[in-house]
Symmetry: C2
Subunit: 209 residues, 2 copies
Amino acid sequence: MSKPLSDDEIDHKRSTLVACAIALLEENGADGLTLRKLAVAAGVSRQTPYLYFKDKSDLLDAIRIAGLIRLTEATTAAVNESENDGYIEQLRVAGEAYVRFGLDHPTLYRMIYKPTRAEETVSAELQRALDANSLVTAAPMKAAFDDGILVMPPERLNQVFWAALHGLISLRNEGLIGDDETFVQTLEDLENILATGFLKVSDKAQALS
Amino acid sequence: MSKPLSDDEIDHKRSTLVACAIALLEENGADGLTLRKLAVAAGVSRQTPYLYFKDKSDLLDAIRIAGLIRLTEATTAAVNESENDGYIEQLRVAGEAYVRFGLDHPTLYRMIYKPTRAEETVSAELQRALDANSLVTAAPMKAAFDDGILVMPPERLNQVFWAALHGLISLRNEGLIGDDETFVQTLEDLENILATGFLKVSDKAQALS
DNA sequence: AAGCGTTAATTGACACCGTCAATTGACATT
DNA sequence: AATGTCAATTGACGGTGTCAATTAACGCTT
């Protein structure tokens, strides 16, 4: 090997390494991901990852983005399957897909929302991935808002939605919500509160039925 | 030094080390806390922390508990200052004190909710600290419930409350809620949704006014 | 076809980390 | 004064992230 790699080749090697790193991550936990282990798992030599990532933080940033994309794909797929349902049902489906992803991939989910460096600015690429993810729920919310049944602008509701689900997933993944029953109950309560909290009063009774 | 240490002495040295570790943590970030640095910061020698903590995980567990206690103290103090206000106002005050603590001590807050080992069981002492913390908001909620203005049992509302605030703080601390305005707005929306979502319908109009 | 330059990829070296093992040192008892 | 006990220190080891030096493979020039 001698000539400069094309951008496509670089992208391919980067994504291979990232996929390999995520596999290690989900298998051995966050502490199990080490640059050296990644190298042997990817069949390359110790320093090779440094050709494609500035340092470990840079690799972790790439993992965050890749994880977010997977998360977005999962929720998008779930929403698409229930496309002809109403707004509320779509949001419920999206939320449950989001939660399911968080619980099915606890280490990756944690990594997505873990900063690499304190007070670091969100990179443009990460911001794009975040925006794409937020779009999944923003779309039905915007439609609902245009129909005049939302009590607040959809972006605001989306933030609330996001924060609440993220908190629930996080607490659950850290083992701080003891039993399954409590978790399911809390998720349900959260959904109901969000649903009844943002709908115009005249629609609340109907939504609750 | 030669004779066995009393339990008090052990407790004192442990809490000194923990306090020192928290200081390091808040100063240098989570990665800045190392057993060796802790030793020099505490003026002891390298291996001394091992006399009081089984390993680093054990130290981090102690930090989590100490952090939780501080958090509980902060919210308790805030609530006590507004003792003669109504339930809703007390909960709002508690929530805002909780959020403030999370934002003022991002590294410590993160550490509190970070598991030391995957799928680890919550220790009895940590569980006690968690219970004590949850009691701060559980008390006014229970009073409200006994007065018949809650739509769900207080424990359930408390879980929802906790998850929502935790999610908001986490996202904010990871820099994922860009500007101050959005954050404040989301916090406000969250409070309103929680307030209007759990109150009995007949009380909603009043609470919203 | 042979040599060269460029650049991918590997290997060497270093400081730092968590932690086990062996050592040192101070006090209470005899 | 000698001894045993236990707090505390120091030595040593494997593992990690990362910088620096080295090796190897390919396209271009002559």
